[in-house]
Amino acid sequence: MITLGHYLVVSGILFTIGFAGVMVRRNIIIILMALELMLNAANLSLVAFSRFHVDPTGAPNYNAQIFVFFIITVAAAEVAVGLAIVVALFRLRQTTHVEDITTLKF
């Protein structure tokens, strides 16, 4: 029997992998992919909450699923913008490594 706990554990593992990816990888494109992973971990937990949070008639709570749609939409937009920035950055610097992009430092 698969319970809410299983889904949440998987979601937590996915989030941690995403977070670790953001922390340790040096390539901006990989970092963006790791960020997507973190967002999808959140989506997974939301869908799981929706599935297990039923009202007395047996229908699931659809609010969480609407949230997921929004997140997917925003994530798509974000990836578009993020990749555009990465392309522009690459044209300017010929690199996608974060160690080479430290001009914000005083």
């Binding site: 977070f19 922390m23 901006i28 974060v98 160690e99 992009i101 430290t102 914000l104 430092k105």
Partner: protein, 591 residues
């Protein structure tokens, strides 16, 4: 009208006629003569009242009208100031004939007349103080008339600063009176006088502070040092400002506020003693000077000391009487000295003169009249007024009387010395041998003043102008002693200085003016050094170090602290961000 004529003339000269020197001079002389005629008119008629305006009116707190006081006192001063002033204006026509700064000179002289008449007429402390400062300013301009000479510029500065010290006290005194009585108008102060008498200590301090103003302006000890240096100015200025009128303003002020002073015994005693010390000090120093004008300057200080002494002995009449006669004979002496100086082509050292009695006959005669009046020889005016003061001192305070008598002896001594050296004996320089008499425009004022110096003391003449004090019947011993002092003084001067070529007596203490200048220089140097150190410390340590650098330093420190977080590494930011979120969640859920 009396006031506006000189002011108008000063304005016209400054604005329009600076180029045409003679025209400026004529405008100024005409204005002061007009003012004199108006003064005479005011003096004759007692029913004239001046218009009154409100100048500053902060309701219920502070009210300063522009109004004039016309009582016997101010009418007399009006007459003296404008009368002596017009004679000196006329004399200046001759004395300043070839001076390049003639327009400036006459403009300043007119402005001075305006300010001086303003002091005399003011009916409240604030107006008086403003005119008082204006007089100080014009005096500064006139002393420094020959500003290209360093000594004149220095003297002007010294006069201004020294009198400012006194004026500061004067101002505080005015404020104290105003605080106590709630008014600065003389009449109102008299009306609310009981408010101030209830606190004798306060009253004494206020009276002495107001006296400070007089100390500065009338060159009393210890602020007398500026007056001899002021002799750097043109001689008519010395006569007008530093002998007859401005220095008398201090005495006039004291008489004007006599009601205040006489309510406090301590203040009276202080004033009397300051006057006495000044009289003695001035006379002692005068015996050893060799500049013809400086001798007169010290004798002025000494005579002003007499007047202040009289005020301190609570007799306004005696003070005003001496002021009245002194104005004539001292102006006369200065103008005669000026005539000598011009005749000898601006030679002022008495040891380069001599034998002038045959060449400058009229000057000699008038100078002699002035000198006799100054030493108090019986038929001349000085005798009567000085005798009054001495008689007063004899009745009220014996030590002061003794010192006053000693001063009278010294006065006779140094004046005789001056006359002997300047006019008698053999000429001691080429310019003295080639001297010739001054033009009539300078001689006529001398004669007029000599006439007054001769007659102003007689009761028949004097009582037309002021209340003659009657202290004489007290004893016949005072005039006798005074005459003895006079004869002894003149006689010893005659013995010592007859036919001398050089100064036979040397008293370094008197010659060096009791080391007052050195003392003040030392005092100022050290206090200033001290104050400057404190100011420098405050500026460097507290303002610069604390306020300015402190603000900057604090911002800078915060900045460098925050800079540690700005590593520029994307992952570091993300890590901090994540940790922040974790901390936030931790606090929200578990606290």
């Amino acid at each position: 009208m009396v006031l506006l004529l000189p002011l108008g003339s000063a304005a016209v000269i400054t604005l329009f006629t600076r180029r045409w020197k003679n025209l400026s001079a004529l405008i100024s002389v005409a204005a002061v003569l007009g003012s004199f005629i108006c003064s005479c008119f005011v003096f004759m008629r007692t029913d004239i009242s001046a218009p009154e305006f409100t100048w500053i009116d902060i309701r219920g707190v502070f009210n300063v009208p522009i109004a004039f006081v016309l009582d016997d006192l101010s009418r007399l001063m009006l007459l003296i100031v404008s009368g002596v002033g017009s004679l000196i204006h006329i004399y200046s026509l001759g004395y300043m004939r070839d001076d390049p700064g003639k327009s400036r000179y006459f403009a300043a002289l007119s402005l001075f007349m305006f300010a001086m008449l303003g002091i005399v007429l003011a009916n409240n402390f604030v107006m008086m103080f403003i005119f008082w400062e204006l007089v100080g300013f014009t005096s500064y301009v006139l002393i420094g008339h020959w500003f290209e000479r360093d000594s004149a510029a220095e003297a002007a500065k010294k006069a201004f600063l020294t009198t400012r010290i006194g004026d500061f006290g004067f101002m505080i005194g005015i404020l104290m009176v105003w605080m106590a009585c709630g008014s600065v108008v003389f009449d109102d102060v008299v009306a609310h006088f009981s408010k101030i008498t209830s606190n004798p200590g306060y009253l004494t301090i206020a009276a002495i502070l107001i006296f400070c103003g007089a100390v500065g302006k009338s060159a009393q000890f210890p602020l007398h040092v500026w007056l001899p240096d002021a002799m750097e100015g043109p001689t008519p200025v010395s006569a007008l400002i530093h002998a007859a009128t401005m220095v008398a303003a201090g005495v006039y002020l004291l008489v004007r506020v006599a009601f205040l002073i006489q309510a406090s015994q301590t203040a009276l005693l202080t004033i009397a003693w300051i006057g006495t010390i000044t009289a003695l000090l001035g006379a002692l120093i005068a015996t050893q000077q060799s500049d013809i004008k400086r001798i007169l300057a010290y004798s002025t200080i000494s005579q002003l000391g007499y007047m202040v002494m009289a005020v301190g002995l609570a007799s306004n009449e005696a003070a005003m009487f001496h002021l009245f006669t002194h104005a004539f004979f001292k102006a006369l002496l200065f103008l005669a000295a000026g005539s000598v100086i011009v005749a000898l082509h601006h030679e002022q050292n008495i040891w380069n003169m001599g034998g002038l009695n045959s060449k400058l006959k009229i000057t000699f005669a008038t100078f002699a009249v002035g000198a006799l009046a100054l030493i108090g020889c019986p038929p001349f005016s000085g005798f009567f007024s000085k005798d009054d003061i001495l008689a007063l001192a004899f009745q009220r305070n014996l030590p002061i009387f003794v010192i006053g008598l000693a001063t009278a002896f010294l006065t006779a001594f140094y004046v005789s010395r001056q006359v002997l050296i300047v006019f008698l004996g053999k000429p001691r320089s080429d310019s003295a041998r080639g001297a010739h008499e001054s033009p009539p425009v300078m001689i006529i004022p001398l004669i007029v003043l000599a006439f007054f110096a001769l007659t102003a003391g007689f009761e028949v003449v004097a009582q037309n102008f002021l209340v003659v004090p009657h202290e004489k019947e007290a004893s016949a011993i005072v005039p006798t002693l005074a005459i003895v002092a006079l004869v002894v003084g003149a006689g010893s001067a005659f013995m010592v200085y007859r036919n001398r070529e050089r100064e036979p007596v040397h008293v370094d203490l008197f010659r060096r003016l009791f080391y007052f200048d050195e003392f003040y220089a030392w005092l100022i140097k050290h206090t200033q050094e001290f104050l400057a150190r404190i100011a420098a410390f405050l500026d460097r340590a507290i303002i610069d170090g604390g306020a300015v650098r402190g603000t900057g330093g604090a911002t800078f420190g915060f900045g460098s602290l925050l800079r540690l977080f700005q590593v520029g590494n994307l992952q570091a930011y993300a890590f901090l961000f994540g940790m922040g979120i974790v901390a936030l969640i931790y606090f929200v859920i578990f606290r």
